[in-house]
Symmetry: C2
């Protein structure tokens, strides 16, 4: 599949490498075409499987599926640069969190409670099939859930069942087994708000390498 | 131990009964002394172990530990009625969630993100040793964690280590084994915000009888 990964942070690089490893033709999208981090990423994976780098718009034009791995605060602007016509009708997997570090620690969320980043994206781009997922774990666990000693839980939320099935296929390929559909895109609120608990858990455990598993009676 | 449970909802009744069963002298506190739900509760447990009902103030005066099981929207007012001098220097286990149903479903939180109900209570009653816990599960699981087939996770947050140890002792008696101290009372933000995810999970699973277990790499 042709996949665009927007963002060159640890999440973008990890997902782009994993998708490349799984055989997809990955375009990493950046604000400026000449991005040294993106160039380094491309050098690390090579071009044998069609990997490439480009602007947000070039990457989005390439992708059948778009992964939003930009920082939450920059996501809407990045997607505007990607361009509505390059996104329309496509599945957008939104893994970003609207973390606001401007007030120091602990972070807060820049959109919360009665709205979410995923809903903002869906409203800004009504023709895009937005699916929220993966934002509840670190980059490493997103791409390699099997590094945890027990099966753990991943969530998806979005308005389009087929788009969620497309995302679930990608997640399965990463190694996710237990994927729970939480419903429409408004369920992204809980997924994003959980991240405030995740931040506490990271601090007290001293590691990013964890997730939650549902235990049912 | 003398324990006050403020609130007669399912959470208050379940915790009051469980604490009574474990041998504590439980006073259930209500806004009006003549509360039929409280009277029913008292009839169900009997007075052999010192169980009683009374106003918020009477119950708080009785308790060495106070459990806030009122609805989040009513908690500060209930604690004011309980009276600062009946609360001062005591451990207050805050199990409430600031759920706001006034906009319909899904609910939102009336305090969130850069503040929490537990912090509001701590600021309103600076001489009280507020500990947030149990708010992340249903009443049944709060009191009977062993009804889940696997060990699952409980959290505590608060500024006073001894108060957290007192709460942890009560939780152990309920059956909780894995109790993670998330730090100061500001960690209640994440614990309360998680409840938005919990609400989604309850809806899609069709049950309250679940919790999360941490899986670490």
């Amino acid at each position: 599949m042709n996949i665009a990964v927007l963002g060159t942070g640890i999440v973008g690089r990890t997902l782009a490498s994993r998708l490349n490893e799984l055989g997809h033709a990955v375009a990493m999208g950046t604000r400026e075409a000449a991005n040294p981090t993106a160039a380094e990423w491309l050098a690390s994976v090579g071009t044998a499987r069609g990997a490439r780098v480009g602007t947000f718009a070039e990457a989005a034009a390439h992708g059948d599926v778009i992964v939003n791995a930009t920082s939450g605060a920059a996501s809407i602007a990045a997607l505007k640069l990607a361009g509505e016509r390059n996104l329309a009708g496509k599945v957008l997997l939104d893994v970003a969190n609207p973390l606001d570090m401007s007030h120091g620690l602990p972070p807060s969320l820049s959109v919360v409670n009665t709205d979410s980043l995923a809903e903002q994206i869906q409203r800004s781009f009504p023709d895009v099939l937005v699916v929220k997922s993966l934002n509840t774990v670190s980059a490493e666990i997103m791409a390699f859930p099997n590094r945890l000693p027990e099966e753990s839980q991943m969530f998806v939320a979005g308005n389009d069942p087929e788009a969620k099935a497309t995302v679930a296929d990608l997640l399965h390929a990463f190694g996710w087994r237990s994927i729970l559909d939480l419903g429409g895109i408004e369920a992204a609120r809980g997924m994003e708000m959980y991240v405030m608990l995740w931040v506490s858990l990271r601090v007290v455990q001293g590691t990013n390498t964890f997730n939650i598993r549902l235990v049912r009676g």
